[in-house]
Symmetry: C2
Subunit: 550 residues, 2 copies
């Protein structure tokens, strides 16, 4: 009997299969995407979260290649962490390669990595798999889905997508190719579930273009626009409108400057020469002829728009004639930071347009009616939802069933589930490790739930350190204990409380009597100090007693 | 010349005038509401944020009374902190008194406080002010606005409100009374701005009633519903539907149990006897005859729904036949916690209805068209927006101007601004203190930005303590230094790093040579250790060197 196809989502936080998906047949395995997640607030100090690749590392030689659907961080950000463990070829479209190479250079992996640019329609043969990229509409150019031919039949892996009949830059989802695969008989559809909660259709980018053009046309002063730095089509839209209204464009913020330069060099951004001006020349240029494109759509603390909002940007001071447009929506978790900027921009007197009050952004993912179109075109034997939280996968499964799929063919996978598909059907056969792997500085995986709990304790209560030096022969204090606190109480209350602790410790250790029992006293001293402080403040700082025999 | 009327919003976080509003005439002052704000995530360890009352405390005898519009925390939660500084009479409607008394009891202030229940339509004379409560529709019973007669003319202070023509419990906004005041000539309208971003009308509670009734009627198993514990009308709605579908009601979660008991005792909840059953009897009662009303609409970590989602509730284990309804929306900042629960409920197999996919909640605040009705009825000489972030106040001012008010009569105030109104007009005359006052445990106001920065540092990087005992005569180490860390690195990396620090410190202090200069070495040691650790880990823990002369 021939082997089963195995489908394994890995690595992340309920954003199933967004970070990485493995397709395995016999001894061969390919990975689709290798993304990161950004940490929640409670992942204190964590820089990013990467997929758990321990299953791959059981036998790295089985992994033959990585295919990247598009260049967003949640699809490519984890690639360096994978490649430094197992050096396999990477295949992607051209812009994605440009974005990946920036990362590989940062990680000193550029030279040893083999990244191959493919075109949509090209087929890459890797062992038992033949992988073809097809064009999809999404919020970055060169976004693709994959048609993965396997001995059991073809898989359609959509990646992130939506259906936009009037996209910018002709970035259509290739419905014709999907229909062909469907007509030939598809084994599996793995489709984006991010916006399955939303009824109807995601509006076209054209609606945003109209709103932005009206806002730029109506403005008397400067127009300052932020969006995702990778949303090249939106940037093109702003440039087109600036050309039309005879304004010049200034770009500020590192990732925006890098992306505009890279996208221009690769031909993804088109503009008349002289359109882009240096931000240092801005103050010599009339406000009414100025458009600023900047970073900061997510309220990132050091981004250009945040600096403008706080009055600390080197070249832009917000004033009453400014129109500021946030052509973006806050990613869940960033709402507070984004609205803090909006508040500050209002306070500085600017006119501010943002997604709650104007059509300045559309989503990059398919809503229910778009998903139904793809399901009906592909008509797969099996379905699995990818991209989205668990509830989205459940709803997407229900959507598939509502279109006529039988219940045992519509499958919900969580990270680490191994789905086996063969002639007899599909089933979750086993589970492999798929934990959160936290990156903090140079450390990968050393930060765990216990360490995060320690950090949360420090964060909420602060700490108190008590250092007592005792004579090793007599067991008595040789001098008054040192007591310090950090993050615990304000300066007015601190001296009295710390003196109290000093007195308490002196009483416990300094009195006459027998030699003290160290291990016993260490714990009781900690509890005694904690109880004393809680009684006085109703706070529970971390108490760290240090006893030194000298 | 007669004195000006002074209007002073105090105390909170851009949620202007929600926490507390002062109206002042000559030597007399009244306060409207005394609320709290819940802390942002970055206010580490802070329990709540209260208004800054230092302006009142300059001459507390001027404050004559506090009027409470309704019983939500952001309007009454700060009352004990005010009353313990200045004991003044409190006036409010009946349910508000019930909620306030719970707080006063907790703060041991119940006996010394004089809380007077008034009815809508009653007028309370306090010096130059005559204050009348009028009914408004909002997400809690006994919500009121105030008509405050002053020597310069009447003020309409709406409090939180919406206009609902088909409310439950007949809780209408008294448009007729507003028209009367408008016809007589109003001096000032101070109106809720929370939802001025939203076009059109806020839907009626009736729509929620229909959705909930359909969900309860369609369910085969248990129905578990969470909502705000103060949203008594919603609880009544659930009880009515349970009666209709022959189900019994079980209540779980402390604040929900307390509020249901209190509201039943005061007559705000009506139900046939025997409807409410003890949660301990639930497992002997058929699922198809069960409705559970519980806390946890905001994902609070210890609330009943959170425990159910985590599988740790004493009486309720979620299973596949359960329908769970979140009849609420996440308050900004709580999205992650709420969706974490939703995810876990889906994972447990429940059917889950929440505001993004079903009409299970409506807002408690007026949208644009409702605000316009109030503006047109009251037709005030002056307008000031209350309740909402700064951007809402700006938009509300623009709404007032769009209805014909001249620009200098429509005013935006921030906390601490003193608006003076007299025969000649209105102007911001001065500013009084209106800082954030943080409550953490028993400490009020000692937690400040510096302490929060210290806590954030500990939170994100952890800490390393180095204790070195040196001989006071020779200046040399008397034994190897002690090094400890907390929240810094995982257990695999910790020993090697801390040994490295120990070696570094020993090298610095233990070598031969001259006596060391303490103050100098303290700083350089800290920097040396920090540099060593950053180089090894790319993390920057707080380094706390303790040097003891023995």
């Amino acid at each position: 009997m021939s082997p089963a196809l195995r489908v394994i989502p890995l690595g992340g936080l309920g954003e199933i299969g967004r970070n990485m998906m493995l397709y395995e047949y016999g001894d061969e395995m390919i990975a689709v995407d290798a993304g990161i997640m950004f940490p929640d607030e409670e992942m204190l100090g964590v820089d990013l979260v990467i997929p758990d690749i321990s299953y791959i590392m059981r036998d790295p030689s089985r992994l033959k290649a990585v295919f990247l659907t598009h260049g967003h961080e949640d699809h490519i950000g984890g690639l360096p962490f994978l490649l430094r463990e197992v050096n396999v070829p990477v295949f992607c479209l051209r812009l994605t390669k440009g974005l990946v190479e920036v990362k590989l250079r940062e990680h000193h992996l550029l030279e040893e990595t083999h990244v191959t640019v493919v075109e949509v329609g090209d087929a890459v043969e890797i062992g038992a798999f033949t992988v073809e990229f097809f064009s999809v509409s999404h919020s970055i150019p060169d976004a693709a889905g994959l048609i993965i031919k396997t001995p059991l039949g073809p898989i359609v892996h959509t990646g992130d997508f939506k259906i936009d009949h009037t996209p910018l830059m002709q970035q259509h989802t290739d419905l014709g190719r999907l229909a062909e695969v469907g007509n030939e008989g598809a084994l599996l559809l793995a489709a984006d579930s991010t916006y399955v909660e939303i009824e109807g259709h995601t509006p076209s980018e054209m609606r945003v273009a109209e709103t932005l053009d009206r806002a730029i046309g109506d403005a008397h002063g400067r127009v300052i626009i932020t969006t995702f730095a990778s949303l090249i089509s939106r940037i093109q839209m702003v440039i087109d409108s600036a050309v039309k209204h005879d304004r010049r464009v200034f770009v500020t913020g590192r990732s925006m400057e890098n992306n505009v330069r890279m996208a221009s060099d690769l031909g993804y951004l088109q503009m008349p020469s002289g359109m882009l001006m240096n931000v240092r020349e801005m103050n010599d240029h009339p406000d009414a002829k100025t458009v600023v494109i900047c970073t900061g759509s997510q309220g990132e603390p050091t981004a250009a728009l945040t600096r403008m909002a706080q009055g600390s940007h080197q070249h832009v001071t917000i004033h009453e004639d400014d129109t500021v447009i946030l052509s973006s929506n806050p990613v869940p978790g960033n709402e507070k930071l984004v609205y803090r900027n909006i508040e500050a921009l209002f306070a500085a007197g600017a006119r501010v347009l943002y997604n709650r009050i104007a059509d300045v952004h559309v989503r990059g993912h398919a809503a229910q009616e778009e998903l139904k179109i793809v399901h009906r075109l592909v008509r797969p034997r099996h379905f699995v939802g990818i991209h989205g939280e668990y509830r989205h996968l459940v709803m997407h499964r229900e959507l598939a069933i509502s279109l006529g799929m039988t219940e045992d063919h519509a499958i919900v996978l969580t990270d680490g589930d191994v789905l086996e598909i063969d002639e007899n059907g599909a089933r979750v056969a086993e589970r492999v490790p798929a934990d959160y792997v936290y990156v903090d500085g140079l450390g990968i995986g050393d930060v765990d739930q216990i360490l995060l709990r320690d950090r949360a304790h420090l964060a909420n209560e602060g700490m108190v350190v008590v250092v007592a030096a005792v004579d090793r022969r007599t067991g008595k204090l040789v001098r008054a204990p040192e007591v310090m606190s950090h993050g615990f109480v304000g300066p007015d209350d601190e001296p009295e409380l710390l003196n109290g602790v000093q007195q308490l410790v002196t009483d416990k250790l300094g009195g006459e009597g027998d030699r003290v029992d160290w291990t016993a006293i260490h714990e009781t001293l900690k509890d005694d100090v904690a109880a004393f402080l809680h009684n006085r403040t109703h706070r529970r700082p971390l108490v760290l007693p240090v006893m030194m025999e000298v």
